[in-house]
Amino acid sequence: MLKTYHYALPRQAGSEALSNILRAAGLPFLCTPVPTLERCYYDSFDWRLYAANLLLFSEKSRDGRVRLRLRELDSGFDLVAIDVTDIPCFAAEMPRGVMRDRLLPVLKGRRLLPLAHLTGRRDEFRVFDAERKTVMRACVERHRVDTGDRQVRLRERVEVTPVRGFTEPLHAVLPLLERYPESQVLEGDLFDEALQILDRHPLDYHARPTLKVERGDTVGAAARAIFLHLLGVIEANEDGVRQELDADFLHDLRVALRRTRTLLREMHHILSAPHFAHYRDEFTWLASITGPVRDLDVQLEASARYADLLEPAQASQHQDIEALRGLLRSQRTAQRRFLLEGLASSRYRSLKKGWRALLEAQERWTGAECDEPAVEAALAMMRHRHARVMERGEKLDAQSADKNFHAMRKQVKRLRYLIELFDGALAAHRAHGVLTNLKALQKVLGEHQDFAVHIAVLEQIQESCATQDRPSPAVRVIAPLLDQLRERRRAVAEDFASVFSRFAKDEKARKKLFRVPSDADHQESAQ
């Protein structure tokens, strides 16, 4: 595979050294200095590009031209470069083309955030043959990284990139670069070096706890570690929620909150009764202030496709649908105000402070209840939750009320969170069978819940419009939409039985999951 080779050379030696090396190798070349550059690297909050082996950066030259480059991280090869006037915040805002096509499936709705700002210059070298055909590219990069309070100089580096089918110049140049006094082979891009200086660590954010609960761990230690991770996720996403950077910040915050509440409920016995009651109530309050905005986010996203739900004749009522979306947006604005007030409140601050203090007080997580083995405790919780899922599921049918479907969904989510939180202790591969069926169950229940929430919100708007003298034009489109949504909810409710039956009948996967893991299980999982 072709790759870019990186070398650090002594300070100020780069361009002259490279020129001398190329001359010594007998290679004709052309050097073009690129005036002062501002370079900025981007990724999503959860490092989606890095995880996908991609590097995205903008380069603004002195003439004001901004070029956005997408590079393959491991090979250092540029995949796409486009000129832009502004840096798009989201992949969907990019002009149609390869860059957008590559980024959209990776980033989805996540916002691009600046990671590192560099300023500097580059000398570009083009090595050519007798036909003046480019046979190798190289450059000397001199940059400083902005740490916020100062500019830190990065090592001067030479980057050499071969051209496919022309390997001879590369073979001539690389040994000379390696032999050059004080030269050093560098692994990784300029980006890696800048991140080190900024003390940023790629992939340092995980919405889901990645810690391994070992077999010897006590339930107290395991719970404490998981709770601390989840609190970290809640805190990490706060700013993104406040600034409304993208909808996933609120989503991740709420998932961490739900996981916390699930674990708290399951492990109430390891906390004192007053502590349990206090934090149960406080986290319920936090869920109540974050939930409506998230629901409306989901509803607004779905409402973009409302026209598709209607008959062709009704689908022309775009203005009415837009009026309805306007009402949803104003509801969201109001709910967001409550959310921001909540996040700024002393109640929220003391919730976090008190919870962290409790988690950090190690002595509170020891004692008879806390010292039980984590694996056995986790299995007991899962067996219990599984029994509840079975019990509720067997009572549900297509005619059941929305609240019963919702209650079932909550049970399923709790079971899934437990499996995911303790999968390290269980030997991950064992959970696979149950998780597959559980996800299918969660999907059908999630769809049902989405329709139920849509219907409830639309009914509420319809009701409030009925009392107004001059109701919004949105009211005209609500009735046909409700018909369609109810029909779809009914269809999903009918699907539930078969999906649940698959889950219920999978005895083998369930037995495998609930068996206390052996050493062989752990070895297999590690492999």
Binding site: I82, E131, K133, T134, G165
Partner: protein
């Protein structure tokens, strides 16, 4: 991966210029692009400053093993070239000896799926076994056509041939090249023919000196005269080709060969 062949029975109609310039535009947009110079004259290789030489020759390429190793990077990012070789003059003989003589090219290109977004085939003129291979390997057959009687006759022959042979797995997109709007005949043909052949591209390449300059500059016209008439005409044409490709993908639209009969 889409395979686009620049093809015409007739020579000297601008096939190589079209392949080089459209491939350049594709690469500039970030698409991973390959030009395969199938013409033993090696004009596309010359434009890209690459020797028209493949060490394994046509025979080696036909075995498939040396195809990847023969690909060369050009001066432009994302744009590679599989150079011409004088041994390509024997391609018809070699294809004739193969087990599936009409599907060899298709089989050779298959492994490149995933490596390139667009492959442009710069085809030699004539209607031979190689042409039939091209028809079976391509998604779109771009037919550069000069608005003259002999060129139209060649287009007519091509459409009739495809119809007779039942070759309908690809779209034929003819377009005008070397259009001299000062000539009444050119103007009339450019105006009238698209009414008879709806698949004909609406954009055309004017007769201009900068396309001839490609031989001196040894580069795509967009690389040295990006604001010129020809560069812009190729940009418009490339945009239209992409649009047509989208339509084809969405609606399965194909050119109809009955159009050829109407022409006759």
């Amino acid at each position: 991966m889409k395979v686009i062949a620049c093809y015409n029975i007739k020579g000297g109609v601008g096939k190589t210029a079209a392949a080089v310039n459209l491939a350049y535009l594709s690469a500039r947009e970030g698409f991973r692009t390959l030009v395969w110079d199938l013409d033993p004259q090696g004009a596309a290789s010359f434009y890209f400053r690459v020797s028209a030489y493949v060490p394994a020759g046509a025979e080696g390429l036909m075995r498939g093993s040396s195809l990847r190793a023969s690909i060369k990077g050009t001066d432009h990012e994302n744009l590679d070239l599989l150079p011409a070789d004088f041994s390509y003059r024997n391609l018809d003989l070699l294809l004739g000896q193969a087990i599936k003589p009409q599907r060899c090219l298709s089989a050779l290109l298959k492994p490149l799926e995933g490596e390139y977004d667009y492959i442009f085939l710069d085809c030699p003129p004539g209607i031979t076994l190689l042409s039939e291979n091209i028809f079976r390997a391509t998604d779109v057959l771009l037919v550069p056509t000069i608005p003259t009687t002999l060129s139209l006759r060649a287009l007519d022959q091509l459409l009739k041939f495809c119809r007779r042979e039942g070759l309908n797995d690809f779209s034929i997109l003819p377009f005008f090249t070397m259009v001299d709007v000062r000539r009444a005949l050119h103007r009339r043909i450019v105006e009238e023919l698209p009414k008879q052949i709806p698949a004909m591209l609406t954009n055309f390449i004017p007769y201009a000196a900068d396309v001839e300059q490609m031989g001196l500059r040894r580069s795509a016209v967009g690389a040295f005269a990006s604001q010129g008439r020809s560069a812009r005409a190729y940009e418009d044409t490339w945009w239209e080709i992409k649009m047509r490709l989208e339509w084809i993908e969405e609606d399965g639209l194909r050119a109809t060969y009955a159009e050829g009969e109407r022409m006759a």
